[in-house]
Symmetry: C2
Subunit: 211 residues, 2 copies
DNA sequence: TAGATTGTTAATCGATTAACAATC
DNA sequence: TAGATTGTTAATCGATTAACAATC
């Protein structure tokens, strides 16, 4: 399947399909239709069909997609097959939680090491926690392209600048701070504040309805 | 300022403005223009202006907004003024990280307690961790409206069902699982997989450019 | 063949951007 | 007054949805 241009909106839906497909028990039919997927996930069936068409050409009228192939196609499209090495800066609670999360491997993410001003007692979760001073040399030596920022907000920009200076091209930012970066560098904000805004807006609307 | 209808897209940008506004040192001008904000955050100035107009009417031509008032207006709009009580289910690493994060108070979120199958040794971060059996009675007694799910994927749906059964209206889901809920209940997925997809796509594109 | 499903082309919808008038 | 900035109205853009032809 040759690679088509894909919008961010579609890209963000793909992991959902993948996760659902993987959760289906093996003893059911090896085929699955876009219609079925759409109903299971509460989405529009045209949207699902169109999304799938972008990443796979295994769909057969009347039958649907072979589940295994579809999983493979989406995984490959998302780059889950070839792992990405990353380093993490800030080994506080959140940082350690991410370090310890074994599920990232399934997404092709491999956190090599963490860095912190306190190079903490032991190696957390089997991954080394180095003093922050070693950040630059480590990144350069290992040609790391992705950095995960889990430091308190006020240090995030500084850490980000250092990461970029040593060759990092993509930043996963858990600090509740806007990061300024040069063109060509991607910042993906894991924005708790954004989620909370959506949630509390919903609750506010609920309250009002009640009155 | 009377409340206008607001789209989700706008809603998601508001916390970014707020956070930036709060980060500005006090010794600078008490006024700030949409143009300035836009440049600082790397956004279109028309977009920022339009967003601000939805939540505040304090903008004055040539001068801009009084920063303090703008902060107040956005905070109020987002409901950060009146706190929302929530409970958390799943006191693993991630759950404890969230429990321990003091920053939520600024967003009007108050995590009352956590529940887990292992009602862990001590109270983590000053909040009690109760056995999961007490979930229902606690939620009903305290009229909790928001639940945070940080259990492993395979238990997420069951936990979600239980939460809804005891009156919860908004679910913040950190499990990498799609949750089926009845109409009227909001699920906000804190979707690491989604973020990772965007990140690795960026890196893949980078690699290709290099070749 | 008939029917379910795919994939594509056209129409609709919503959000962003551009243009401009109003105002201090 | 002139210029910066706001807020609004119109135009553009992109994504979703609907309609339909193709296919097994």
């Amino acid at each position: 399947m040759e690679r088509k241009e894909i919008s961010k909106a579609v890209l963000k839906r793909l992991p959902g399909y993948l996760s659902y497909l993987k959760s289906i028990p093996d003893d059911t039919s090896p085929y699955i239709s876009a219609t079925f997927l759409a109903n299971a996930l509460g989405m529009g069936e045209v949207q699902v069909r169109k999304d799938l068409a972008l990443v796979s050409d295994g769909g057969r009228p009347k039958i649907g997609y072979l589940r295994e192939s579809l999983i493979e196609d989406i995984s490959q499209f998302l780059g889950y097959d070839n792992t990405t090495d990353a380093i993490l800066v800030g080994a506080g609670k959140l940082g350690q939680a991410l370090l310890g999360y074994s599920g990232f491997a399934a997404y092709g993410l491999n956190i090599l090491a963490a860095f912190d001003v306190n190079p903490v007692e032991n190696q957390a979760e089997g991954r080394p926690i180095y003093p922050i001073e070693q950040l630059e040399s480590y990144c350069r030596t290992n040609k790391v392209l992705m950095g995960i920022i889990t430091v308190p907000g006020q240090y995030a920009q500084e850490v980000c600048d250092r990461l970029i200076a040593c060759g990092i091209k993509a930043v996963w930012n858990f600090a509740p701070t806007h990061l300024d970066v040069p063109a060509g560098i991607l910042v993906q904000n894991e924005n708790m504040a954004t989620s909370l805004a959506v949630l509390s807006m919903h609750l506010q609307a609920q309250m009002k309805d009640k009155k």
